[in-house]
C-alpha cells in the first residue's frame, strides 16, 4: 500500500497507524529498541523519555494532518 494512499484514508485509527509506522518511524524505532533492551524486566515508565518523543511526534503529525485537511477544504 502506498503511504500517500493511506494518509488519504481518514478514520482516526488509520491515521494513527500511518503516523506511528511512517511519519514517526525514527521515534518509534528508538522506543522499540529501548523496550527490547529491557524486555525481560519492563516496568511502568521504563522507557518514558523515548515514548514522550514518540508521542510528541504523533501529536504533531495529527495536528499537521488536521491543518492540511482544513486547507484542502478551503
Amino acid at each position: 500500500m502506498q503511504p500517500t494512499a493511506r494518509v488519504a484514508s481518514s478514520t482516526p485509527l488509520r491515521r494513527l497507524a500511518v503516523h506511528s509506522t511512517t511519519t514517526c518511524a525514527e521515534q518509534s524505532v528508538a522506543y522499540g529498541k529501548c523496550i527490547v533492551a529491557t524486555y525481560t524486566d519492563v516496568q511502568k515508565d521504563s522507557c518514558k523519555a523515548e515514548f514522550e518523543k514518540f508521542g510528541a511526534c504523533l501529536r504533531e503529525a495529527v495536528r499537521v494532518h488536521a491543518f492540511l485537511t482544513c486547507v484542502q477544504l478551503l
Binding site: 500500500m1 485509527l13 488509520r14 494513527l16 497507524a17 506511528s20 509506522t21 518509534s28 524505532v29 522506543y31 522499540g32 529498541k33 523496550i35 527490547v36 524486555y39 519492563v42 516496568q43 511502568k44 515508565d45 521504563s46 522507557c47 515514548f51 514518540f54 508521542g55 504523533l58
Partner: protein, 328 residues
C-alpha cells in the same frame, strides 16, 4: 443517538447491552463450565465482519482459513470411505465444505454461530449439496440427535468455545458408532507476537496488563481431551501458518474482518492510543523482519473415532504366539 443505539440493540437481540463487559446472560452463581468467552459478542462480531463492504472485506481475509481448510482436507482424504452426509460444525463461510468432492461426500450440513457468515457464499461455489443452519457449538445436542452423524468436521471454530471437553463429548455423542470426528483449532502459540507486544506496551505505558489474545488449547492437552471425551484411534498433530503483514495495524484490521476480534469476558473495550502506538513500535522491534512483521497461527489437527465393536483394537495382553526374542 445513544438511546437510538440501545433501542436498535434491544430490538434485534434479546440481550440489551448497557455499558461494558458481558453481552450474553451469564449467571455467576450457576454451576457449569467457567465462562471465558462472550458467545453473543462473538456472533455479533462475525455478523458485522460479513456485513462490512458487502462481504468483500470478509472474503479478502479468508487466507488463513482457506489454508488450514486445505491442510485439513489432506487429512480427510486419507480416510478411505465415502460419507453420505458430513456435518461441518462452525463452518464459517464453508471454507472446508467448498473443498469436498462428490466421490467423498454426498451432502454437507454447515452449521455456524453466525447466520450471516454461514449464508455468505452461494451454493454454486460448492461441489456437493449444502444444507445451512445456525447453531451454537456449545449446544450441539439440542439440535442434532445422538448417534446420527457419520462424520463431523470442525475447521477453526472450537477456539471460541467455553467448554471444550463438553463440546467434544457432544460431538462423540452425535456420531454414529464408528463415525469420525476430524477437526482443526488454534493452539496456544497463536498470535504470540501480538500478545507479547500488547503486554509489554501495557506494562510500560499503564503499569498493568489485560487480556487481548484468547487463552487457547495446548497441543499436548488435546490428545488427553480427545480420549477423555471417548474417542479412539486418535491422531493429533500440530502445524503453523505464518503470515507477514506490513505492520501490527494491518493484522488488527484483518483479524477484525475475520470476525476474530477479542471476545473474552471482561476485555477492555477501549485501548488508549498511546498503548496501541507503543505496541506497534514494540511489535516491529521485537518480532519485525525486513519487510514487515510476522504473525504465527498455530493449528492443532485432530482425528478421533467413536468406538464400535467392528473397529480394529489391540489384542489381549499376553496373547501373542511369536516370541520377539527369537525374531530380534
Amino acid at each position: 443517538m445513544l438511546a437510538l443505539r440501545h433501542a436498535r440493540r434491544a430490538g434485534s437481540h434479546t440481550h440489551a447491552r448497557t455499558f461494558a463487559a458481558v453481552s450474553s446472560s451469564i449467571n455467576p452463581s450457576g454451576v457449569g463450565p467457567f465462562q471465558v468467552f462472550d458467545r453473543n459478542a462473538k456472533r455479533l462480531q462475525k455478523d458485522r465482519a460479513v456485513a462490512r463492504d458487502g462481504g468483500e472485506r470478509s472474503r479478502t481475509v479468508d487466507y488463513v482459513r482457506n489454508e488450514v481448510a486445505d491442510r485439513l482436507m489432506e487429512r480427510f482424504m486419507d480416510i478411505k470411505r465415502k460419507f453420505e452426509t458430513v456435518l461441518d460444525l462452525g463452518s464459517g463461510a464453508g471454507h472446508f465444505s467448498k473443498l469436498l468432492e462428490e466421490d467423498k461426500a454426498g451432502k454437507v450440513t454447515m452449521l455456524d454461530l453466525s447466520g450471516k457468515m454461514v449464508e455468505r457464499d452461494p451454493d454454486s461455489e460448492f461441489e456437493v449439496a449444502v444444507d445451512r443452519g445456525v447453531l451454537d457449538e456449545e449446544h450441539l445436542l439440542q439440535s442434532i440427535p445422538p448417534n446420527s452423524q457419520e462424520a463431523i468436521v470442525s475447521c477453526l471454530s472450537l477456539h471460541w468455545v467455553n467448554d471444550l471437553p463438553g463440546v467434544l463429548v457432544q460431538i462423540r455423542e452425535a456420531l454414529k458408532p464408528d463415525g469420525v470426528f476430524i477437526g482443526a483449532l488454534f493452539g496456544g502459540d497463536t498470535l504470540f507476537e501480538l500478545r507479547t507486544a500488547l503486554q509489554l506496551a501495557e506494562v510500560e505505558r499503564e503499569g498493568g496488563i489485560s487480556p487481548h489474545v484468547s487463552p487457547m488449547a495446548n497441543p499436548r492437552d488435546m490428545s488427553n481431551l480427545m480420549s477423555r471425551a471417548g474417542f479412539t484411534l486418535l491422531t493429533v498433530d500440530v502445524d503453523e501458518v505464518r503470515i507477514g503483514y506490513p505492520s501490527m495495524w494491518e493484522l488488527l484490521d484483518d483479524l477484525r474482518d475475520m470476525g476474530e476480534s477479542n471476545a473474552i469476558i471482561g476485555r477492555r473495550h477501549f485501548v488508549p492510543r498511546d498503548t496501541l502506538a507503543a505496541a506497534s513500535a514494540i511489535y516491529q522491534q521485537l518480532h519485525g523482519e525486513d519487510a514487515g512483521v510476522p504473525a504465527t497461527f498455530q493449528v492443532i489437527y485432530m482425528i478421533g473415532w467413536k468406538p464400535a465393536p467392528n473397529q480394529p483394537r489391540p489384542l489381549e495382553r499376553g496373547s501373542g504366539d511369536t516370541n520377539l526374542k527369537t525374531v530380534l
